[in-house]
């Protein structure tokens, strides 16, 4: 989710450049099953289906989780994995391909019931759900869990959607407001032990997506240890912590109080008896252990390294154990409209036309790394509409004549000079900056390349308004993944002008009141089809305004060791579903 973008940042420079898979698209609409290893056998269908229980599922991570605490995590793979030991009100269905975008009730009996104005949402908990110690789950535990996640001074990592949407009336979470009855927290009501009512400050038609956030997984107030809660999260899911060595490894074993009968909708399988996760393992090591069969899953879901991808794709015996996963992620370059001459739309359009889009794709691994993107929203997001205003598809190497024409209209017929920034650690972004430099040079736009460390790219450099303007960073190479597969989850943080702050931006400079208005309209539209249409309208506006230069709709290559069963890629997380995997002994 946005997550992976940032997470990977901390993790490994190369691993993101590795985000690519091979060309095959697998357009079939899901559903099938098979057990012969072949390329893309886990795409849109279940590979090696099985109900055999037992064994140990071995996973490894090239970095560490931001946190194992459901109220404190923002990484996509973490949201996928956490369903093994927590249950949120609602979750994504565990099913191959597009079916996984469907939200299904988990802790709740059904999806949320909205008031007509989409400002009040009611959920009812299922009966008979217990924690790992046998105590029953109550609605006020969910209320407490959401309340604690509001406090970003203590639990710093999670998203701020509840802070933004709940009608908090100044309530700052139970660590600051120590009243145990939470009587000042009026945004959530719990009239009885099973009913929970959310009151929002503004309409949000997609509130079920917030009920999906791990922060709605119940936490009993008596067991909360603040920042230390991640050491032993009280399980409601099929597994619970057996041991947890922070930053090194942890092991999950079966939770005997998890009753599959209370979990009819999500598709969890809970096959292995034990799940082990090694942390902070070198990605090269992970790739090798996957190929050697010593490891079952690379938990980051970011795919193998670029060079491992090359070896796998060259060797038919290995290629058949790999899957390409499309990602709801776009690699793009954003203009800084405050840097002259990009305040003029024609100069931005000149760059759109001059870019060698095939070269951009090459930087991310060619057809194994993705597809040329023509607009902002990735195809995986429901409501996606192809918008190709600048003929990227018919002219993949750019349109020099049109670019020169735009330059004339911009009043810069001979071109101009500007800077391109990129994240130093990322080979693919460096290659992007280099190919941009080459293609822009053809129309007289001279560029200098600026590499900045990725950890501070948003805080101090490209995402810092003052720095970017002062250093004339006209073009900034970047990428963005959806927080969840929905227009709001992808767009809000990169096109809404109201999220722009002095530093740490992800919207680098789109300021368009029409776009803001469309976003607000979409949030209060309850009809799904109509809402999805609005996301496409926003996309259209962004492209008309030439605020972003879309680069590549990303893909990655996942390795699927032979002994894994029930393997498939879930589009909700764009990696293997971690609640259905099993192992052959």
């Amino acid at each position: 989710m946005r997550v992976t973008a940032i997470a990977a940042g901390v993790a490994l420079a190369i691993s993101l450049s590795a985000c690519g898979g091979s060309s095959g698209d697998g357009d079939s609409d899901g559903g099938g099953e098979n057990s012969t290893p072949e390329f893309n056998a886990g795409v849109n269908k279940v590979y090696n289906p099985s109900d055999t229980k037992g064994g140990t599922l071995k996973m490894a991570n090239d970095a560490d989780f931001d946190s194992l605490d459901p109220g404190d995590t923002y990484y996509g793979y973490s949201w996928n994995f956490i369903r093994n030991y927590t249950r949120s009100l609602v979750t994504f269905k565990s099913a191959p391909g597009e079916k996984s975008n469907e939200l299904v009730p988990d802790l709740a009996e059904s999806l949320g019931e909205a008031s007509p104005d989409a400002k009040t949402w009611t959920y009812k908990l299922r009966e008979g759900i217990k924690y790992e110690d046998g105590t029953p789950v109550k609605s006020e535990d969910v209320k407490y869990a959401v309340a604690r996640s509001l406090d970003k001074d203590i639990l710093v990592n999670g998203p701020t959607y509840f802070n933004d949407f709940l009608d908090l009336k100044g309530y700052a979470g139970p660590y600051k407001d120590k009243d145990p009855t939470m009587k000042n927290f009026k945004a959530i009501e719990t009239p009885d032990d099973r009913t929970i009512i959310f009151h929002l400050i503004k309409p949000f038609s997609g509130f079920d997506y917030l009920a999906m956030l791990p922060a709605t997984a119940p936490v009993p107030a008596a067991k909360d240890t603040g920042t230390k809660y991640k050491e032993h999260v009280l399980s409601t899911g099929p597994y619970m912590f057996a041991s947890n060595e922070l930053e090194k490894r942890f092991t999950l074993t079966r939770n005997k109080y998890y009753d599959p009968k209370t979990d009819p909708d999500t598709g969890r399988k809970a096959l292995p008896d034990e799940i082990t996760v090694d942390l902070n393992v070198n990605q090269e090591d992970i790739d090798q252990r996957l190929q050697a069969g010593d490891l079952d899953v690379a938990i980051s879901g970011l795919g193998v390294l670029a060079e491992t991808r090359a070896t796998i794709l060259q060797d038919p015996d290995q290629k058949k154990f790999s899957d390409t996963a499309d990602q709801a992620r776009l690699w793009f370059t954003s203009f800084d409209n405050s840097v002259k001459p990009f305040d003029n739309i024609h100069c931005r359009k000149a760059v759109m036309y001059a870019t060698d889009h095939e070269g951009y794709l090459r930087a991310y691994g060619g057809s194994s790394g993705g597809k040329i993107a023509t607009n902002l929203m990735p195809p995986l997001i429901p409501g996606y509409k192809k918008i190709d205003l600048y003929e990227f598809e018919s002219k993949p190497n750019g349109d020099i004549d049109k670019a020169k024409d735009e330059l004339k209209q911009c009043g810069q017929p001979d071109g101009f000079t500007t800077n391109i920034s990129y994240r130093a650690e990322r080979a693919a972004e460096k290659a992007t900056a280099e190919t941009l430099q080459q293609s822009l040079d053809k129309v007289g736009i001279k560029t200098e390349l600026k590499a900045y460390p990725q950890d501070d790219y948003g805080k101090i450099y490209a995402g810092n308004v003052a720095f970017s303007t002062k250093n004339q960073l006209g073009l900034r190479v970047y990428g963005w993944g959806a927080d969840w597969n929905d227009g709001f989850g992808f767009l809000s943080q990169i096109v809404d002008s109201r999220v722009i702050r002095p530093a740490g931006n992800t919207n680098f400079n789109v300021k368009d009141p029409e776009i803001d208005a469309l976003l607000d309209k979409a949030l209060s539209t309850l009809d799904t089809k109509e809402r999805e249409g609005l996301w496409a309208d926003i996309d259209q506006k962004v492209m008309e305004g030439a605020y972003y230069l879309p680069g590549v709709d990303a893909k990655q290559l996942l390795y699927r060791p032979e002994r894994l069963t029930n393997v498939f890629i879930t589009n909700a997380y764009n990696m293997y579903d971690y609640t259905t995997l099993g192992v052959q002994k």
């Binding site: 190369i14 450049s17 091979s22 060309s23 390294l305 670029a306 060079e307 491992t308 991808r309 090359a310 070896t311 794709l313 060259q314 095939e358 070269g359 090459r362 930087a363 691994g365 060619g366 057809s367 194994s368 130093a424 650690e425 080979a427 460096k430 290659a431 900056a433 280099e434 190919t435 430099q437 080459q438 200098e448 390349l449 600026k450 590499a451 460390p453 002062k470 250093n471 004339q472």
Partner: protein, 332 residues
């Protein structure tokens, strides 16, 4: 140490000239220090080969644009036709080597490794020479002053040298390059980076040469010819410039040739760590850094920059060693 040779040489010259008038004049003529050194150097075949390679490398660096224009492709030009679209690897094996691309091509964008290696020599040698020059200038001035004046001046400068020697140079360079603004004193981009790197390497390496010069000066200033100059009324600036410096030339020269390869390696290390000269300029360290991503599937990518660094450093070291032996045989 070399000073007495010259002075005694001159006094010894006079008598034979008178007695052996009939014989060939050349044979008896006294040989200057330079001539003796050259004679010794000529006998040292290893050093000569090193020297030849050094000259060759300098020529390559100077004429890089011409060489590339005649024999290869522009260093930043992409050749997508040389690279497999789906794997990003060079099409021709190994490493994309073909009649057109002698050293192969870079994965992903197919840039000509021959051109990039040739252009890499420019950056490496330019930075190494400039940085060495800076160290030598600062080191000589400080060393001579410390050695000649002694006392508290010597104490201050020597402690300063200790401080500089204790400096974590690589870490400092990483921090400085990261913290530098976009424009300093009218310099931008490429030249700004070159200037910063030259400054970091040159400014922090002077104590090595400073110490040697100081030691030499300490022993020289007690010599008779310095005493003579002083008793004839020579002032300090005159003695420093006319009496001491010429006698320091040899060790300075030797030490410079040995400092250059160190600086080449340091520049490569900085580029490798991503704080060298900005992309897309070709540098050996930068190429090596890119090659590490690909070593499993395209190990050939490492060879051109790796060998270039290896050969350059080795050649400078061999030549420097030979030069030292030739100028100061007792130093063996």
């Amino acid at each position: 140490m070399t000073a007495p040779l010259e002075t005694t040489g001159k006094t010894a010259e006079a008598p034979p000239e008178v007695t052996l008038q009939g014989a060939s004049k050349k044979a008896i003529e006294g040989r200057s220090l330079g001539q003796i050194a050259w004679m010794r150097l000529k006998r040292d075949k290893v050093a000569l080969v090193g020297g030849a390679v050094v000259v060759f490398l300098i020529l390559v660096a100077v004429f890089a644009p011409l060489i590339v224009k005649l024999l290869a492709h522009p260093p930043n030009e992409f050749h997508y036709d040389q690279v497999n679209e789906a794997t990003s690897l060079p099409i021709h094996k190994p490493g994309g080597i073909s009649g057109d691309f002698w050293f192969g091509v870079e994965p992903v964008n197919g840039r000509d490794l021959f051109s990039r290696t040739v252009y890499g020599a420019q950056v490496s040698l330019l930075i190494a020479f400039l940085a060495t020059l800076l160290s030598v200038v600062i080191g000589t001035v400080m060393g001579v002053i410390a050695g000649y004046f002694g006392g508290w001046v010597d104490a201050v400068i020597s402690r300063l040298m200790d401080i500089f020697l204790a400096f974590p140079l690589l870490l400092f360079a990483l921090a400085l390059v990261g913290a530098m603004p976009d424009e300093v004193a009218g310099l931008r981009g490429y030249w700004l980076r070159v200037a910063i790197i030259v400054f970091v390497i040159g400014f922090f390496n002077w104590p090595y040469i400073g110490r040697i010069v100081r030691g030499q000066t300490l022993s020289l200033r007690e010599r008779e010819f310095v005493d003579a100059a002083r008793s004839l009324g020579g002032r300090s600036p005159y003695i420093l410039a006319k009496e001491l410096l010429p006698n320091l030339a040899a060790p300075i020269l030797v030490y410079s040739t040995l400092l250059i390869p160190t600086n080449i390696l340091f520049e490569a290390a900085l580029s490798f760590l991503g704080v060298g000269v900005p992309a897309p300029t070709a540098t050996w360290g930068g190429m090596l850094s890119d090659a590490t991503h690909w070593y499993k599937v395209d190990p050939w990518f490492m060879f051109p920059p790796g060998l270039a660094i290896f050969i350059t450093v080795l050649a400078f070291n061999l030549f420097g060693d030979g030069l030292r032996d030739a100028i100061d045989p007792r130093g063996r």
